[in-house]
């Protein structure tokens, strides 16, 4: 105040000096008007303020106001009821937090207990968190509560419902409710009919994260297409010829004899691919004749890789091409075969498992810091040759001798100093990465049976690690709320993706390696650009922690599974949920798309593998948009295991499905 006076006198002096008489006069007038009001001497004002503060203290107003609003909403017209019901939840939680913030802890608890059941169905997890808020400091400390307080909730509401609500609030003079609504809800009033009850995603999304930011982010452009010049493409391409340079190389390397062999291979390839082309054409033709307006789904666009990709050796390429040619075509009528690997005698210590691309290697990460790898090809031999492997020590040389001289059926990798939470095989199966609670990621060689590198960078347990589809690069996610991109040859991360509001629980590469997706305990899935490190999509809709992610092979869709057993299919380009898949009753540990993207497999803690028809849902909405809900994804088959929760799933290149789980008795 003194400062202000000094400034004023200075200004007055200045004006006087310069001779601005009118301005001087004005300033004087102003100063008189804005003379500080003496609160204590003005009885009216004091009374007003007193009343105001009293009314602030009036806890019952929240309780009454909310309970009246609630009963009014429930008795409102059916047509508008569901829209009005959406308003209740934000009002409820903010009323609760207002009460806590004002220090009425006891009353807040009673208020919470009285009304929380209404919202238990939709928001049980949020409520669980909020229930623990018992003082102002908790509100400050808890990130969830803070973000709720700071951000306004967007609610879409139709004109009429909005009118009804305002009318009610004015008529009943419930200023507390009005205050809450004004402060925390941002109505997006739309003219016309009330929205349908089914787009309840809105209801969920409005809580917790800033929706404006999310929708802004989701407008960014992404290139979800597949990589140029991929092997699949080359196989499909007419002639299926190898590129010129490779051909020249190959010719230099191999003699004439090999050349002829090669030609024959090429011929075969050519035959196969032309056949396929013809078939495709035929399919297109029939599709056209059946539905003239429906265009055949366009092939995924091609994009350039943003990363320098590792070079593949020709032998590997050949074997992959061989696999691709022998691939079984899966569809809703041709279901895959499933080979199930059961872990026995894990004593509750198995945290994760991973299966190599060809299914020959199975890794398990244990809570005793060990990583164990089984060679399934050898396992088969053992079963044949020696059944008494336990008693008979001198049976086979295949067993790896442990330090105690005890023969083991697996290779033991020791090095971590905390529970191993994730493991992943490189595409060729020659490396394994494991992440642990000791905040490190370790790279192991399956050829040398040794630890090669220890990557340090995360500050907290690393929950997940995933090799990129081309190898060399990998992504990790951690309790420190970041995801990081690494390359095998550097011990420092290349990129750090920060933005999640809670633990990053799982990570998955996009098929074209330009993006990674991360699932978090903040119940969002985010898509990040690997090159720029920016978040390019936020997928909001899950109601609990996200545990598993899978990307469709055509790069267009993503599936995510959560703690409650819900699986959601997302369209990457729009950032919208295509459809939720309900069916599992417990945590979805693993998801996998078949190689041509027609079948989605999900493995869950409810001891089942479910197969879902993905084609019907993902393609249909494109053709006949908003024709209704019959195009929901359907469950094709539920394969029950014998009390083995399914930990991991993997489709081989030939579309054989591998699943791994642990036999547990207390399920």
């Amino acid at each position: 105040m003194e400062n202000m006076q000094a400034v004023n006198s200075f200004v007055a002096a200045y004006l006087k000096k310069k001779g601005f008489k009118e301005a001087e006069q004005l300033l004087e007038d102003l100063q008189k008007e804005s003379a500080p009001i003496d609160f204590h001497n003005d009885p009216d004002l004091a009374k007003f303020i007193h009343h105001f503060s009293q009314s602030e203290d009036d806890v019952a107003r929240y309780q009454d106001g909310y309970s009246k609003l609630r009963s009014w909403t429930y008795s409102s017209l059916d047509l508008y009821k569901h829209e009005l019901l959406r308003v209740l939840y934000p009002v409820f939680i903010h009323s609760f937090m207002d009460l806590v913030a004002k220090g009425h802890l006891q009353e807040a608890r009673t208020f919470f207990n009285a009304f929380h059941e209404d919202h238990e169905l939709m928001h049980s997890r949020d409520l669980q968190k909020l229930e623990g808020v018992l003082s102002q400091s908790h509100l400050e400390e808890m990130e969830f509560a803070r973000s709720l307080r700071q951000n306004k909730v967007n609610i879409k509401i139709c004109q009429y419902s909005y009118g009804l609500l305002l009318q009610y609030l004015h008529k009943t003079q419930s200023t507390a409710m009005l205050g809450v609504i004004n402060e925390h809800i941002n109505f997006q009033v739309t003219s016309g009919q009330p929205g349908s009850i089914s787009d309840d995603t809105e209801v969920v999304t409005l809580i917790g994260s800033c929706q404006d930011a999310a929708s802004l982010i989701n407008q960014k452009e992404i290139h979800w297409g597949l990589l140029e010049d991929s092997l699949e493409e080359r196989l499909e391409k007419e002639g299926g010829l190898l590129s010129d340079s490779e051909k020249a190389e190959a010719e230099n390397k191999e003699g004439d004899v090999d050349d002829s062999k090669k030609r024959s291979v090429e011929g075969g390839k050519q035959g196969a691919s032309t056949k396929k082309l013809k078939k495709d054409k035929a399919v297109n033709a029939t599709a056209k004749s059946a539905r003239p307006e429906a265009k055949p789904t366009p092939a995924a666009p091609r994009v350039k890789p943003e990363l320098t990709l590792p070079v593949m050796s020709t032998e590997v390429e050949q074997s992959i091409l061989e696999d691709l040619r022998n691939r079984v075509q899966l569809s809703s009528v041709a279901l895959p075969s499933v080979s199930f690997y059961t872990f026995l005698n894990t004593h509750n210590g198995l945290n994760c498992s991973s299966i190599s691309q060809d299914g020959s290697l199975v890794a398990g990460g244990f809570s005793d810091s060990s990583l164990k790898v089984w060679d399934m090809a050898k396992l088969g031999q053992q079963a044949g040759s020696s059944t008494l492997q336990g008693e008979n020590d001198s049976t086979s040389s295949e067993h790896v001798a442990g330090p105690n001289g005890v023969k083991r059926s697996y290779t033991l990798f020791q090095g971590h100093s905390g529970p191993v939470y994730s493991a992943t095989f490189s595409p060729l199966g020659d490396f394994i990465l494991s992440s642990s609670a000791d905040t490190t990621i370790r790279l192991w060689s399956t050829k040398l049976n040794a630890n090669l590198v220890c990557y340090k960078g995360h500050n907290y347990p690393v929950w997940d690690v995933q090799f990129s589809p081309v190898g060399h690069y990998f992504a990790s996610s951690s309790h420190d709320r970041t995801a990081r991109i690494w390359s095998m040859d550097r011990i420092q991360p290349l990129r750090i993706m920060a933005g999640h509001l809670s633990d990053v629980d799982c990570v998955q590469w996009h098929a074209n390696c330009n993006y990674i997706a991360t699932g978090s305990s903040d119940r969002t899935v985010r898509l990040w650009d690997v090159q720029s490190g920016e978040c390019v999509r936020i997928f909001i809709g899950h109601r609990s922690m996200i545990l598993s992610l899978a990307m469709s092979p055509d790069g267009r869709y993503m599936a995510s599974g959560d703690e409650d057993g819900t699986i959601m299919m997302w369209d990457l380009s729009s950032g919208q949920c295509v459809t939720p898949l309900m069916g599992h009753t417990s945590c979805v540990w693993s998801l996998a798309f078949s190689c041509e993207g027609t079948v989605l497999a999900s493995g869950s803690a409810d001891c089942t593998v479910k197969l879902w028809d993905v084609k019907t849902s993902t393609k249909a909405p494109k053709n006949e948009e908003k024709s209704g809900n019959p195009n929901r994804l359907r469950s094709l088959k539920t394969l029950a295991t014998k009390s083995s929760p399914v930990y991991s799933l993997r489709f081989s290149r030939r579309n054989l499905l591998f699943a791994a789980g642990v036999l547990s008795k207390n399920v």
């Binding site: 003082s135 399934m376 059926s409 529970p419 295991t641 014998k642 929760p645």
Partner: protein, 443 residues
């Protein structure tokens, strides 16, 4: 206000040596304690999820404490459930019962068995979407279970139901009960009842029913006592088979041919015993004449069958006759022995006739095939005429052997005269192929 009462705070304070904790402090601390506990639990749940578990363990809580840089709480890692005990003299003071362990005992006790090492096994969870029924897979709802439910619907009592399930599940199990005649008869009646009930959807279980019924029809031995009338059971089963074929034959094309083939197989095999032949014939007879004209059966086979049928009808007559004395007057042991001997002689004879019989039949078959009359109806007349001839021949032979037998029997039993006269009847009946009236006559 909070779920943690202030008394708990006071107790904790006392336990760490703070005796003069003011109530205000306890009151203020209680909500914060609750918040911290919730926070720890939230982290512990994360650790649980990342350990792929759905049950929270003490390890998870320890990891969560680790994440928060709090020292883990030791002493709770044991698998046993903790027992809280009430402190004597206090209303709401509890403590954990921590037993004293004798050091010496621990040292001297034998080492516990080493836990089994982790291993991995593999099996097919599904083959092209179908789960194979192997022990590694969870048992799929067995069809027999569905049947069980249907029994319940049917209002049958439980004690009847169980043996049925046992018997019908696998044929082997039927075989195990083959000497329990009353049970088998009861089962066949149950099967008939099931078949007759229009409200039951029995079709999916036919494949399970059929082997048992066929077994009751053509089994070598049914029941372990001679007094048990297994013939009746065979007749019953034959009728049952026929009714099944009639009802479901048009739905399952291969049902009747399969039944026929099974019966023919039993019947054409000369090593089979007479009761088996009898059963096969009864079955075929019950199925009706159209069976033999089924296109699936080769023509010559049909001829063999037809001829053999006639012959075997004779045999069945013979069997009846053989039984006749035993039914009228239970014979002594020596009698039965001689009869057995006779029977074996007879069988040799029958095989002979069979051998002789086949070539002409084949010839006829080829002839008719050359004739190009593939349509069964048009070729009916010729076979019939031939058949008369054949039958006569066979009948002659049989009657010849039978007269010998009659002589043999004459020595043992009284009703020799009766038998002799019956042989004439028997011969005629061969030609007309209607043994039943005669049987009823002399039975």
């Amino acid at each position: 206000m909070s779920n943690v009462p202030k008394e708990a705070i006071e107790v904790i304070a006392q336990s760490i040596g703070i005796t003069n904790l003011s109530p205000d402090v306890a009151l203020a601390l209680a909500p914060d304690v609750e918040y911290r506990v919730r926070e720890i639990m939230q982290e512990a749940i994360k650790c649980m999820r990342h350990s792929r578990r759905t049950v929270l363990t003490t390890d998870d809580v320890d990891s969560a404490l680790n994440l928060r840089n709090v020292e883990p709480i030791c002493g709770f890692a044991s698998r046993d459930a903790l027992r809280f005990k009430k402190a004597a003299g206090h209303k709401d003071l509890f403590y954990i019962d921590d037993k004293d362990v004798e050091f010496k005992e621990v040292l001297e006790s034998p080492l516990p068995k080493a836990p089994l090492d982790t291993s991995v096994t593999s099996h097919w969870l599904a083959i092209e979407g179908i789960q194979p029924a192997i022990p590694e897979n969870a048992s799929i709802e067995a069809p027999s279970d569905g049947k069980k439910a249907e029994y319940k619907e049917d209002g049958l009592s439980v004690d009847v139901k169980l043996p049925i399930k046992h018997v019908l599940s696998r044929e082997l199990q039927v075989a195990r009960n083959l000497n329990n005649f009353p049970l088998m008869f009861a089962l066949m009646r149950v099967a008939r009842s099931l078949l007759q009930n229009e409200h039951l959807h029995i079709e999916p279980y036919l494949h399970q029913l059929m082997p048992s019924i066929i077994t009751c029809l053509v089994a070598k031995r049914l029941g372990n006592k001679f007094t048990e009338n297994h013939w009746e059971l065979r007749n019953f089963a034959a009728k049952l088979v026929a009714s099944i074929c009639k009802r479901f034959g048009h739905v399952y094309h291969n049902l009747q041919p399969r039944v026929t083939r099974t019966l023919l197989h039993a019947f054409l095999d000369p090593t089979k015993t007479f009761p088996q032949h009898y059963g096969a014939i009864q079955g075929l007879a019950a199925l009706g004449p159209s069976v033999l004209l089924e296109p699936e059966i080769k023509r010559h086979e049909a001829w063999c069958v037809y001829g053999a049928l006639l012959r075997a009808a004779g045999l069945c007559m013979y069997d009846r006759l053989k039984m006749f004395p035993s039914l009228l007057a239970p014979p002594t042991r020596p009698v039965w022995k001689s009869n057995n001997k006779v029977a074996t002689n007879k069988r040799k004879a029958s095989t002979d006739t069979l051998m002789q019989q086949q070539p002409p039949a084949k010839k006829i078959a080829t002839e008719s095939a050359i004739g190009g009359s593939n349509i069964g109806v048009s070729s009916m007349s010729r076979p019939l005429s031939n058949d008369n001839m054949l039958g006569r021949e066979v009948g002659g032979r049989v009657s010849k052997t039978s007269t010998v037998l009659a002589q043999a029997w004459k020595e043992d039993t009284d009703p020799g005269n009766l038998l002799a006269s019956l042989f004439e009847l028997f011969g005629e009946s061969m030609l007309s192929f209607t043994p039943k009236p005669e049987l009823s006559f002399f039975l």
